[in-house]
């Protein structure tokens, strides 16, 4: 039996499944409300859900072409979508974690800008290689006209390909994707660190009042942020079945499924992350 790897993701939405999933998320929020009241810990769970949904939504903006892009056969970046989004989000998390002592708004904004910065530089260099190194202009395969600049695309597509490089809409999509990914990842890290672990970790470890448990708190928050980021990015990658040109791609319309899935996944993982110290 020979099975060809094909995009198995179907189009359309299974409303029963989505409804059940949302119900599960609401149940988890309810349990948290019952156990912790309207405290910082409860708000941390809400923030984790929002952060996860942002990551899932942001991944849809990142232009990824996969193996065909490496041969100039498809537009986008020639890397796996989950790991490219992961790279941008984690670079953002680096910046956001550094600013964690300056408050939630500054930290999350810093993380978002960090992610956007990494994607901006990477996308620009992709175009540098295509244009100056290979002599290939950027052209989209899914749009006749670039929605942002009005440039026509079809005549700049070489024969036998689906397009190549990063047209401006894909470039902007990459930046937005990095922005949202960095924002979501830093948000998850910040609330876990400052609202949950710094408060409760000393008690959970049985440590005295003078003990410095901050390294453990940072490590726990960091590894959870990375783990949650990867889970959400992979779920979003499953949603777009591997390659997407950016926000103008018809596949982009699938984003509601991913937002629901990542929000529920983040709720499940978030309550477990909180339960480590708070139960």
């Amino acid at each position: 039996m020979s099975v060809t790897p094909k995009p198995a993701g179907g189009v359309g939405m299974d409303m029963t499944a989505m409804g059940l999933a949302i119900l599960l998320m609401l149940a988890i929020i309810g349990v948290a409300w019952y156990m912790f009241g309207l405290s910082l810990i409860f708000y941390a769970l809400i923030a984790i859900i929002i952060g996860g949904a942002l990551i899932g939504f942001g991944v849809h903006f990142v232009p990824v072409g996969g193996a065909p892009a490496a041969m100039g056969q498809a537009p986008g970046i020639a890397t796996g979508v989950a790991m490219l989004a992961g790279g941008a989000g984690l670079a953002g998390l680096f910046g956001g974690a550094w600013a964690a002592d300056l408050g939630i708004v500054v930290a999350c904004a810093g993380g978002a800008i960090g992610g956007a910065l990494m994607m901006a530089i990477t996308c620009m260099f992709v175009n540098v290689i295509y244009v100056y190194g290979m002599g290939i202009p950027s052209a989209s395969g899914k749009a006749k006209v670039d929605p942002l600049t009005g440039d026509t695309q079809t005549e700049y597509k070489s024969q036998g390909t689906e397009g190549h490089g990063l047209p401006f809409i894909s470039f902007v999509g990459g930046i937005v994707g990095g922005f949202l990914g960095g924002l979501g990842g830093t948000l998850i890290y910040y609330v876990l660190l400052k609202w949950v672990y710094v408060e409760k970790l000393a008690h959970a470890l049985g440590a005295g009042p003078l003990a410095n448990v901050t390294p453990i708190a940072i490590s726990l928050a960091g590894i959870f942020a990375i783990g949650l980021f990867l889970v959400n990015a992979v779920l979003a990658a499953y949603n777009i079945t591997g390659t997407i040109e950016g926000p103008h791609d018809p596949k982009f319309a699938r984003w509601p499924r991913a937002v629901v899935a990542t929000a529920v996944a983040s709720a499940v993982c978030g309550i477990v992350a909180i339960a480590i110290v708070a139960v």
């Binding site: 999933a21 989950a82 959870f224 980021f229 591997g242 899935a261």
Partner: protein
């Protein structure tokens, strides 16, 4: 043009591998409890053996999942396994002696939910999706717990969070110098993530053979054990780390040589410094 993956029947059935992996992993991880009973660290290497059992099981799970063509490739499955596994494993360490069993239960719940989300909300509609993702979450949690037990001496939350530091000649407990404090768990995370997906990813092709893949899974696991043994130098006694290192190196060398022998058996030809052999008709 995409690469064809052919599903070849035969080999050890997946259910057998699953039970062997699950039981073997749990038994080996529990054997690290001998550390607490003998008040030494010498039995830490059993944690690594437990992780290897889980990884061998995991390589076949990935093969079952990816044979249905999920469209985004093999490495993401490894990341999903470990991402969900690390969360389950860290909560499970709070439960003392019950930690490994709790890890399996929690990871199974998380994995089942993630599988349901991927299959029904994201409409992947693959028959084995929910079961495979559940298995992978359990494998992720067990392999992480195994490596953590091997590095820190025990799978208990207190053990992985406290280390020692020499201060003015005295050794004091320090949270910063522990397995969690130095985030060595991130290294175990990636060691397991690559080791889970490498066996299937490296042996996939039209002439895939299960025994070659399983030997490679063992080899990747023992290679990871070697590195964890080196890192355990910081947390365990020198004797314990050397025992772990010695066992890991011997087992790695054995599985690696077996893998090379099997590759020689399966390859079309084994040439040294010969030109390209064009097939007929080209």
């Amino acid at each position: 043009m995409t690469v064809k993956i052919e599903v070849i029947a035969g080999g050890i059935p997946h259910d057998q591998l699953m039970i062997a992996g699950l039981v073997g992993s749990l038994v080996c991880i529990y054997l690290t409890y001998l550390n607490a009973m003998t008040n030494s660290f010498v039995f830490s290497f059993f944690g690594g053996l437990g992780a290897v059992c889980a990884l061998i099981w995991g390589s076949n799970t990935i093969k079952v999942l990816c044979s249905y063509g999920i469209g985004t490739g093999v490495p993401s499955a490894g990341m999903l396994a470990l991402g969900s596994g690390v969360i389950a494993m860290l909560l499970a360490t709070r439960y003392g002696i019950w930690a490994p069993i709790m890890a399996v239960v929690l990871a199974a719940i998380i994995g089942a939910i993630l599988g349901y989300l991927a299959n029904n909300v994201l409409m992947m509609k693959i028959p084995v999706m929910i079961r495979s993702i559940t298995e992978m979450a359990v494998i992720g949690a067990l392999s992480l717990m195994g490596f953590s037990a091997m590095a820190a001496g025990s799978f208990d939350f207190a053990a992985i969070s406290t280390g020692t530091q020499t201060f003015l000649g005295m050794t004091v407990t320090s949270y910063g110098n522990s397995y969690m404090g130095l985030t060595i768990i991130a290294v175990s995370f990636f060691l397991a993530a690559i080791a889970i997906q490498h066996p299937f990813n490296a042996t996939l092709g039209p002439s895939w053979k299960q025994d070659r893949m399983l030997w490679l899974a063992g080899e990747c696991g023992f290679l990871s054990m070697i590195t964890v043994a080196v890192m355990s130098l910081a947390f365990l006694s020198l004797n314990a780390a050397l025992v772990s290192l010695g066992i890991s190196i011997i087992l790695w060398a054995y599985t690696y040589s077996q893998y090379i022998t099997l590759s020689k058996r399966d390859a079309a030809s084994w040439l040294d410094s010969k030109p390209i052999v064009e097939p007929e008709g080209h």
